[in-house]
C-alpha cells in the first residue's frame, strides 16, 4: 500500500469507516452524525479525559434563528443574522460558509435534541456580542445546555473533563444569570451547589460534552483516550487513515470513508502561535493539549489555511500556583473588568479600551504597536480597582469581604500603587480622576463603557447611574496584571460547506474533514455571540459526519 508517496506495509490495528480526531463538541457531534448516517466510527482523544476545549467552556451554542428563540420572545431571521455575521467577519471569511452555518445550524440543533439526551434553552437575556449592530440581538441566539448528571455516564464519569473554573459550581447559565453570579456572588446558593457537586451534577461545557458523550456511548462509540494523532495515511491523494500513538505503541487506523480533524486549536504551541497569530498570546485558557496537532496534519497533506492570524481572544487573570494538568491555570476574565470600581490601564496609567466589551474585541487594543518605541503600547496592562470592588464583588475565587491575598499589589494611594506596578503615577491619577467623573454621570465619554446592553449583562444592575461605572476612590487600591489570552485559536484548514478540507487551488483533499478550532473559522476576526465557537464547531462537525458517512440525516 502506498501511503503519501511512500511504500509502507503495515497491518492496520483498526479498520473503521470514519475516524474522528478529538472529543470536543465538534468531534463528538461528528461521531454521532457519522454513526447515525450508517458509518462505523472511532473517536480518538489525546488527553486522558473527554471533552477538549468545549468541556472547559461555558457550553453555550450560538445559533441564530433557532427554534427556541420564540420561547424567549425574540424574533430572528436568516437575513438579519447574515448581515450581522458578515459585518463582524470584516471581509475575511467566506459568505458561502456563513450561509451554510446559518442554514444548517438549526437543523443540527433539532437533530441533536431529537436523538440525544441534550435539551437546550434559549438565553433570552444573553446578548449578542455587538447587539446594537444591524442584525444583532439582545438575546436568544445563545443556547444553554442546562445541567447534566454525570452518574448517567457510569464508568465514564471520571473521564469527563471538567473546567477548572466552572467545573465545581453546577449552575446552568440560565441560573447563573438569574442569580446574579457576577453582581451578587454572596447570594449564590452555596449549600445547593455543594449538594449538586456531591451528587455529580455538572454545568456549562461539561454538561454539553456529558450529553454528547452519553449519546456516543449509547451508539457504542467509546472514545479511545490517550491516543495521539501522528501522521495521516494517504493513498492516491486520498486520506485513508492515520498513524497514531497509543501509550508507547504506534498504531495504524484505517478509515475508508474519511478522517475528521476536530482536535482543537494551536494556542498552546508557542512556536505556531508566534508564527501565525496577529496578536500576542501568552496565557491561553484552554486545555494544554491544544498544540496544533490537527493543523500540522492538515498542513502535511497540503491543506490551504485560513484565518490563521485570529483567535477567540480573552483576557486572562492568574492566581500564582494554580495549575491545570500540570500547566499554569489562566483564568478567562469575563466580568471583573465590567463591574463598577475597575479600570484597565497601560504603563502610562491610561485607559485604552471599553473594559466591559466582549472579551474577543477587548483584546485587540492590547496589541496596539508603537512603531517609534517598537513595543506594544498597551502591554503590560493592569486591572486597577479599589476597596469598594473588593467589598462588593468576587475576584476570581476570592469572595467579597474576604481579605485579598498578599501577592496582589496594593497601596493606600494611587501614586503608591503606580510605583509598585511600574505605571506612571501622574497618568494613573489623572485617569482615575477623569473616570470617576464619568462614573458620577454614568457616561464614559472616552470609551462608551456601559452603553451597550452587552456591557450591562456583566455589570451590576443595582449600581447607578450605570451598571458598569463606579468610582475608584476608597483605598486601599489594588492592581492585577491582565494577560493576553484566548479560549482557542480559530485559524486552520480551509473547508467547503461539507467541512471537506481544501487545497490552495480549491480542490478537495478527499477523505479529510475539519471542524472546530482546527478549521479556518468562518467569522474572521469577529465573535458574534456566546457560543459562536461551539455553535459553528458542532455544525461543521455534524456536516462532516454526515458527508463522510455518505448520507444526510434529515
Amino acid at each position: 500500500m502506498a501511503w503519501f508517496g511512500k511504500k509502507k506495509e503495515a497491518k492496520p490495528d483498526f479498520e473503521v469507516d470514519v475516524l474522528v480526531i478529538g472529543s470536543g463538541g465538534a468531534g463528538l457531534t461528528a461521531a454521532i452524525a457519522a454513526h447515525d448516517a450508517g458509518a462505523k466510527v472511532m473517536v480518538i482523544e489525546k488527553a486522558e479525559r473527554v471533552g477538549g476545549t468545549t468541556a472547559v467552556s461555558g457550553g453555550v451554542l450560538w445559533i441564530p434563528n433557532n427554534h427556541h428563540m420564540a420561547e424567549a420572545g425574540v424574533a430572528d431571521s436568516r437575513a438579519e443574522a447574515l448581515q450581522y455575521v458578515l459585518r463582524l467577519a470584516d471581509g475575511r471569511s467566506s459568505q458561502a460558509l456563513v450561509e451554510t452555518f446559518l442554514d444548517q445550524a438549526p437543523r443540527m440543533l433539532r437533530y441533536l435534541e431529537g436523538h440525544t439526551p441534550l435539551k437546550f434553552k434559549a438565553l433570552g437575556r444573553y446578548p449578542d456580542y455587538h447587539p446594537e449592530f444591524e442584525g444583532g440581538k439582545p438575546g436568544g441566539r445563545s443556547l444553554d445546555p442546562g445541567l447534566f448528571d454525570t452518574n448517567t455516564l457510569g464508568p465514564w464519569k471520571p473521564r469527563l473533563r471538567r473546567s477548572p473554573v466552572f467545573g465545581a459550581t453546577a449552575m446552568s447559565v440560565t441560573e447563573a444569570t438569574d442569580w446574579g453570579v457576577f453582581s451578587k456572588p454572596l447570594q449564590l446558593p452555596f449549600e445547593l451547589l455543594g449538594k449538586r457537586y456531591a451528587q455529580g451534577l455538572v454545568c456549562y461545557g461539561a454538561a454539553l460534552v456529558g450529553g454528547l458523550l452519553r449519546a456516543a456511548l449509547d451508539r457504542g462509540v467509546e472514545p479511545q483516550l490517550r491516543v495521539a494523532a501522528r501522521e495521516l495515511l494517504v493513498e492516491d491523494g486520498r486520506v485513508v487513515g492515520l498513524r497514531a500513538q497509543s501509550g508507547d505503541k504506534d498504531i495504524v487506523i484505517l478509515a475508508k470513508r474519511g478522517v475528521i480533524l476536530a482536535s482543537g486549536g494551536f494556542e498552546w504551541n508557542s512556536a505556531l502561535a508566534a508564527q501565525f497569530l496577529g496578536g500576542v498570546l501568552t496565557h491561553p485558557n484552554s486545555p494544554p493539549g491544544n498544540e496544533g496537532d490537527g493543523l500540522k496534519l492538515a498542513m502535511s497533506v497540503g491543506a490551504d489555511l485560513g484565518n490563521m492570524s485570529e483567535a477567540w481572544w480573552c483576557p486572562s487573570l492568574c492566581i500564582p500556583g494554580e495549575e491545570y494538568e500540570g500547566r499554569p491555570l489562566h483564568r478567562g476574565d469575563f466580568a471583573t473588568r465590567s463591574l463598577p470600581h475597575t479600570i484597565i490601564v497601560n504603563r502610562a496609567g491610561r485607559r485604552f479600551v471599553n473594559e466591559a466589551q466582549n472579551y474577543n474585541d477587548l483584546m485587540k487594543p492590547f496589541f496596539a504597536f508603537d512603531p517609534m518605541r517598537y513595543e506594544r503600547a498597551n502591554l503590560p496592562a493592569w486591572l486597577v480597582f479599589d476597596q469598594q470592588y473588593a467589598d462588593k464583588y468576587a475576584l476570581m475565587t476570592f469572595m467579597p469581604g474576604q481579605p485579598l491575598p498578599e501577592w496582589i499589589p496594593r497601596a493606600d494611594s494611587l501614586d503608591a500603587l503606580a510605583g509598585k506596578i511600574g505605571v506612571e503615577a501622574a497618568g494613573l491619577s489623572a485617569t482615575v480622576k477623569r473616570f470617576n467623573g464619568f462614573a458620577a454621570r454614568g457616561i464614559d465619554e472616552d470609551f462608551q463603557r456601559g452603553e451597550s446592553v452587552y456591557d450591562h449583562f456583566y455589570g451590576d444592575p443595582a449600581n447607578q447611574p450605570s451598571p458598569n461605572l463606579g468610582a475608584l476612590e476608597k483605598g486601599p487600591f489594588y492592581a492585577l496584571e491582565v494577560h493576553p489570552g484566548a479560549i482557542g485559536t480559530k485559524g486552520g484548514a480551509r473547508t467547503n460547506g461539507q467541512a471537506q478540507v481544501l487545497r490552495p487551488g480549491g480542490e478537495v483533499v478527499e477523505g479529510l474533514y475539519a471542524a472546530g478550532n482546527v478549521m479556518a473559522g468562518i467569522t474572521g476576526p469577529g465573535y458574534p455571540g456566546a457560543g459562536a465557537t461551539i455553535g459553528t464547531a458542532m455544525t461543521f462537525g455534524f456536516l462532516a459526519g454526515e458527508h463522510a458517512a455518505g448520507r444526510s440525516l434529515t
Partner: protein, 190 residues
C-alpha cells in the same frame, strides 16, 4: 465538614514508629501535595501543599499547631489556612498490637461502601493524575498500628461547596500519609 480516619499496621515496634513520627521532617514529604514546610517553634509550623481540590491544583498554606505531643502514643494538631479560608485538626495515634492478637483491620465496609471507596480512589487517580499509596506489605507479624484522623472545614460563604469538593480528596490523603509512613518504616527497619 469532611472528616476521615484511616488505620494501617506494620511489623515495627511502636517506639520505632514514634522515633520516626516525632520529627516532622521525616514524614513531611509523604504528605499529599507537599511542597515545603517551615518550623517556627516546637509547636508551630507552616506548610505549603499543592492541593488538588476538585479539578484544579492550587498552593495552600496551612499553619499547624501541635496541641498534644504525647509520645509514643499520640500527636494532635490544629490547622489554620493562611491563604485559604479553611481550618481543621488531626490526630496520629500509634498503638502496640499484642502478640497473637487478631489483625487490626480498617472498619468493615459493606459492598456498596467498598464500591464507593473504589470510585473515590479511581477518581483521585484519574483527576489528579496519581495513585494513592497502598497499604504496605508487612514483613512479619504486625506490632504497631498507625491511625490518622483528619478533619478539614472550609469557611466563609463558599464553605458548603468547597467542603463538598474537599471530602473526596481527604480519605486518599489520609491513606497516602499513613501508608507511606508504614511502607517507609517497613522498608528501613531491620
Amino acid at each position: 465538614m469532611p472528616e476521615v480516619e484511616y488505620q494501617t499496621t506494620m511489623s515495627v515496634p511502636p517506639g520505632k514508629v514514634w522515633d520516626f513520627v516525632k520529627d516532622m521532617n521525616n514524614w513531611a514529604p509523604f504528605l499529599t501535595g507537599y511542597q515545603k514546610h517551615e518550623v517556627l517553634s516546637e509547636a508551630d509550623s507552616i506548610w505549603t501543599l499543592k492541593g488538588d481540590v476538585g479539578i484544579l491544583s492550587r498552593q495552600v498554606q496551612l499553619k499547624a499547631h501541635v496541641t498534644e505531643w504525647n509520645g509514643p502514643e499520640r500527636v494532635s494538631f490544629t490547622l489554620t489556612g493562611l491563604n485559604e479560608q479553611v481550618d481543621g485538626d488531626g490526630t496520629l495515634v500509634m498503638a502496640p498490637i499484642a502478640e497473637g492478637a487478631p489483625p487490626v483491620m480498617p472498619a468493615k465496609l459493606d459492598l456498596f461502601a467498598r464500591f464507593v471507596r473504589f470510585l473515590v480512589r479511581l477518581m483521585f487517580r484519574v483527576v489528579h493524575g496519581r495513585s494513592v499509596e497502598k497499604a504496605p506489605v508487612v514483613k512479619g507479624p504486625p506490632q504497631s498500628s498507625l491511625s490518622f484522623r483528619l478533619r478539614m472545614d472550609a469557611l466563609g460563604p463558599t464553605g458548603p461547596l468547597v467542603n463538598a469538593m474537599l471530602g473526596p480528596a481527604l480519605l486518599p490523603a489520609a491513606e497516602d500519609l499513613a501508608n507511606k509512613i508504614a511502607a517507609h518504616l517497613e522498608r528501613t527497619q531491620p
